[in-house]
Amino acid sequence: MTAIPITGIGLGPEFSIPPVTGTESTTGQEGAAGAGGFGKALGGALEKLAETQQTATEQSQALALGKAPDIQTVAIDVERANLAIQLATQVRNRAVDAYHEIFRMQV
């Protein structure tokens, strides 16, 4: 199974899902979880997702309290968090679809 890294979009580290290799062979790709497999990659991605949400919350709080140093950072952080959630949701949906398809394949 070839993995397609999403790093090319350039949205930031939280959008890079480390490519997953099916076997133990390391391919030396950026951020590769190597032998970690799907679970580890998923965990890492979720952690990054949580970070984006936390940052967005902090920035919103700063804005409400008059402590935001500039509006660009706030806007971008909030939007980034929103996109990260949307991406995660799409990935989840696809994963669930794939799961169902696999189970339908039973002989």
């Binding site: 580290p13 902090e58 919103s60 804005l63 309290l65 959630i85």
Partner: protein, 129 residues
């Protein structure tokens, strides 16, 4: 990835929404006060008023029972005693009021925009998007 605030941050997105909502109310009240200043820019004896909504919110978050303080936060228009006063007793500098109006408007829109985005995030999670 973003500056960390020294103050302990509010946990969760629903609390953030309440804070943003109150901030919008505060900015709205500030607009009312600034409008009153502008309407009375030439009324003899009038002194300007303002609403420090950031101050009120900060105070609410500093209190011991944050949730309650935030839920009950009040934004009061206070008279601003400083500043020069003209012959007729009026202390309104119309240029400053107009600048403050613009600033406040933009701040209101920023807060509303962020609030809207947080709602959208929640909608995505819930599955409506």
């Amino acid at each position: 990835m973003g500056r960390r605030l020294r103050r302990e941050t509010i946990v969760g997105m629903f609390d953030s929404i309440t804070l943003l909502e109150k901030a919008m109310v505060g900015a709205g009240r500030r607009h009312d006060a600034l409008s009153a200043n502008v309407a009375n820019a030439n009324t003899p004896g009038y002194r300007r008023v303002d609403v420090d909504f950031h101050g009120a919110l900060n105070a609410a978050l500093d209190s011991s029972d944050r949730d309650k303080a935030l839920a009950n936060v009040e934004f009061t228009a206070e008279q601003d005693g400083s500043g020069a006063v003209r012959e007729d007793g009026n202390g309104v500098d119309i240029d400053r009021e107009m600048a403050s109006l613009t600033e406040n408007n933009l701040e209101f829109q920023a807060i509303a925009g962020v609030l809207r985005q947080q709602f959208r995030t929640l909608e995505t999670v819930i599955g409506n998007r």
